[in-house]
């Protein structure tokens, strides 16, 4: 039986569509019938398997200055051609272009339910934004690697369209999507760690199976000048929540936080609170929640005018198996609210 030829729509920026350079970066979305520029390489790689039926072009600035509008304009153009798959780019190191490719692939996948693949260099900012949502083939830094990039993109998109199993990032050439899986290997952990140690002792090469995270550098805020006048907030990642956990904060891998009123409280009352944190023994906190969120002591300091005021809410989340991305999001949200409320200082209690 002959396979039906795949209908492919391709996305390019103004530069790769040969409309122009920076001076044309404001061009609105438009359609070119058939392949153009790198689309011809895609057509070559597809051969008889498919056909690039249309190319959608948009200027990098037009896109990056109105991302949502641009996506809304482009989606109907894609839909009109009823493609089986979408290919965007490759964008290599082009930052605005990479973001556009990622955003379009994501929207096409989510709104039209059409598989989409793009390609970028690992350091393209589009990678961090979209690698979780979209298959991004890892490319070299520049168009010098076009043929290789296109060939991998086409192979992957054909695989997806035909329902073949995606083996994995190393095999299929895409940038890992942040999905962590366990795989069975040929050797036990004991055998592998022994061999790694031996290689290290014998000064042979070895490859660590685990990498270390890159941590943000955070510049500490300036010290509080007049603590007697300062408004101070309490924040904890120890998972103190009102009974029933009304915000449904996860006990492991938190994605959200809660804020809870302290209008009247002289001290937190044991019967009103619970702990939803699965990473430590919370018996003592449950007995007296002030051990984690020290409202009792803060009220005394307030009365003695050693601080200006205790903020009328406390913030809580769980710090256990939380991804850095979620922690960052939670931290930013709490910090921006505290800043808006004119907070001078925060006491962060952890467990």
């Amino acid at each position: 039986m002959e396979l039906r030829r795949l209908r492919v729509v391709h996305y390019l920026n103004q530069f790769f569509a040969r409309i122009g350079g920076e001076e044309k970066a404001n061009v609105e979305p438009r359609v070119i019938e058939g392949p153009t520029g790198p689309g011809r390489a895609i057509q070559n790689a597809l051969g008889e398997r498919g056909e690039v039926i249309a190319t959608i072009v948009c200027g990098d600035n037009y896109f990056s200055e109105n991302v949502e509008n641009a996506v809304d304009e482009i989606i109907p153009l894609v839909y009109r051609y009823q493609p089986d798959v979408m290919i965007a780019g490759p964008a290599f190191l082009g930052g605005r272009y990479g973001v556009a490719c990622g955003a379009i692939c994501k929207a096409v996948k989510e709104r039209l339910n059409i598989p989409a693949v793009t390609g970028m260099h690992a350091e393209n900012p589009g990678v961090n934004l979209f690698h979780r949502d979209v298959y991004i083939i890892q490319t070299g830094p520049s168009a010098a690697t076009m043929n290789e990039a296109v060939s991998k993109m086409v192979q992957l998109v054909v695989k997806i369209a035909e329902g073949e199993k995606i083996v994995g990032p190393a095999h299929d050439g895409y940038i890992p999507r942040g999905i962590v899986v366990n795989e069975m290997t040929g050797q036990t952990g004991a055998e592998r760690v022994f061999e790694m140690l031996l290689a290290k002792i014998q000064e042979r090469s070895y490859e660590s199976e685990v990498l270390q995270p890159k941590h943000d550098r955070v510049v500490p805020a300036a010290p509080v000048r007049l603590i007697e006048q300062a408004m101070v907030a309490l924040v904890t990642d120890g998972g103190l929540v009102p009974k029933g956990n009304p915000d449904g904060i996860e006990s492991v891998g938190a994605t959200r936080f809660g804020e809870y009123s302290l209008q009247e409280e002289v001290a937190l009352k044991e019967e009103a609170f619970d702990v939803c944190h699965a990473g430590y023994d919370s018996t003592f906190v449950k007995q007296d929640p002030n051990r984690l969120v020290p409202v009792d002591v803060m009220r005394i300091l307030e009365r003695e005018k050693r601080i200006g005021k205790l903020y009328n809410k406390f913030f809580s989340t769980t710090g256990v198996g939380t991804t850095v991305e979620d922690a960052r999001k939670i931290g930013r949200a709490i910090a921006s609210e505290l800043r808006a409320e004119g907070m001078s200082g925060v006491i962060l209690t952890s467990t």
Partner: protein, 429 residues
């Protein structure tokens, strides 16, 4: 210190009037074992069940698995400090029933399915769950018991663990007088002699976290010669002591059961290579404290013992527990590297930055000196439970472990290992 393990290979277990072994089959007088375990006034209503590989049995709330072992010499102490008086282990002869597990279960009174899933570990003897755990390959003697009236939950848990150890010794004693199928000899001279014989080989220590204090250790839980080691500082053990009952898995330990302490795969690997390409110098045991001061002390002491007492050139490190112990392990490895001991770590990852577009998983910590790490998987994922024909365990939330329930892999005992027996590795997709 020379230890001989007389191994009997057991292929099946059956109830019988007399506890005995014939042709590789363990016959078990369940009544006799039940009476022995009920001698402990903290337990009542003891039951003993059998679960064989391939049977569609689901064991509920497994808290430990133990390999039946007992000293062959008269009065040789079994699990000294835990069930026998203090004594020396690690030398002499010990009988091992290979292919048998004593599976200790705790009753589960939670009714809510979510609460149940957070606290209960299962073992299936067949199917997709069974495929993930080595304990499904054993002929298991499952112990069930309730707390006696007035006994606290902590006392009950300690009593359960002790019941498991007693059962393990009781079963292994049935092998007395039988010729072993195999004798495994573990002999390791830690004195200067070995340095003379094997001068060029690098000396390796194993730095073994046996307890995490993330959760309060149980009072009276026998972990090291009967001690709960909540406040232990790093110390040195002979590897044979670990094989021979000096150390048992703490209650509530994560991905570490007594079975794989007795059969510690890292030590097995080091022993097999002792005299070939390394010298195994000894084991430094430590806990993972829950505060910075004690962490630093433990890391410094462990590194100093390795360097200046054992004269190690290199060390392998493993951890107990979850995230915080990973930090303690890192700190210990970092201290080792700083004083010239080369390290390799094997662990499972508790958390991970999913924003990193790299192929490999990442650790929780950042320490550039620590550059050789083996991934032993991550406690993510779940699978659909198949229909079990029989549940072994005492629990109320029956719907929580029925057919079709999405069950977390981390709640399958044996699915992941801190001690290197699993073949899992975490990757990003």
């Amino acid at each position: 210190m020379k230890l001989e393990l007389s191994v009997l290979k057991i292929t099946d277990v059956k109830f019988a009037h007399k506890t005995d072994i014939r042709d590789g089959v363990l016959f078990l007088n369940g009544e006799e074992l039940k009476e022995l375990l009920e001698e402990d006034g903290r337990l009542r209503n003891v039951e003993v069940e059998i679960a064989r590989p391939g049977e569609k049995h689901r064991i509920i709330r497994v808290i430990d698995v133990i390999e039946p072992r007992s000293k062959i010499e008269k009065g040789g102490p079994n699990f000294p400090g835990a069930i026998d008086v203090q004594g020396v282990v690690g030398y002499g002869r010990t009988c091992v029933l290979q292919g048998v597990g004593v599976v200790v279960t705790e009753f589960a009174d939670m009714v809510d399915s979510d609460e149940f899933r957070k606290a209960v570990d299962i073992v299936d003897m067949w199917g997709p769950v069974g495929d993930l755990t080595p304990y499904s390959k054993l002929n298991n003697i499952v112990i069930l018991a309730d707390p006696a009236d007035g006994v606290s939950i902590e006392e009950y848990r300690v009593a359960l663990k002790i019941a498991g150890l007693k059962a393990a010794v009781y079963l292994a004693r049935a092998a007395e007088g039988f010729p072993p199928d195999e004798v495994m000899v573990y002999e390791l001279s830690l004195d200067r002699e070995i340095g003379k014989k094997l001068p060029e080989l690098p000396g390796v220590a194993y730095i073994f976290q046996i307890l995490s204090t993330q959760f309060n250790p149980l009072d009276g839980d026998p972990v090291l010669y009967g001690e709960n080691v909540e406040r232990i500082v790093p110390t040195i053990l002979h590897p044979n002591e670990i094989f021979d009952g000096a150390v048992t898995a703490p209650y509530g330990s994560i991905f570490m059961e007594t079975y794989f302490i007795q059969n510690n795969p890292i030590l097995g690997q080091l022993y097999r290579n002792h005299g070939k390409n390394l010298r195994l110098l000894g084991v430094i045991i430590m806990n993972a404290p829950n505060n910075v001061d004690e962490c630093e002390r433990a890391a410094n002491m462990a590194a100093n013992l390795a360097k200046h007492v054992l004269h190690a050139d290199a060390a392998i490190l493993t951890k107990a527990g979850g995230g915080a112990p990973e930090w303690v392990m890192m700190r210990t490895a970092q201290r080792c590297e700083q004083i010239g001991i080369r390290t390799a770590l094997a662990f499972l990852h508790m958390g991970m930055d999913v924003t990193e577009p790299t192929l490999k998983p990442t650790s929780l910590f950042y320490a550039p000196e620590v550059d050789a790490m083996v991934s032993m998987g991550t406690p993510v994922g779940s699978l659909k439970l198949p229909r079990a024909e029989k549940f072994i365990g005492r629990f109320k939330a029956i719907g929580a472990v029925n057919e079709g329930v999405e069950w977390p892999i981390r709640r399958i005992r044996g699915s992941l290992s801190q001690l290197g027996n699993s073949r899992l590795r975490a990757l990003r997709y």
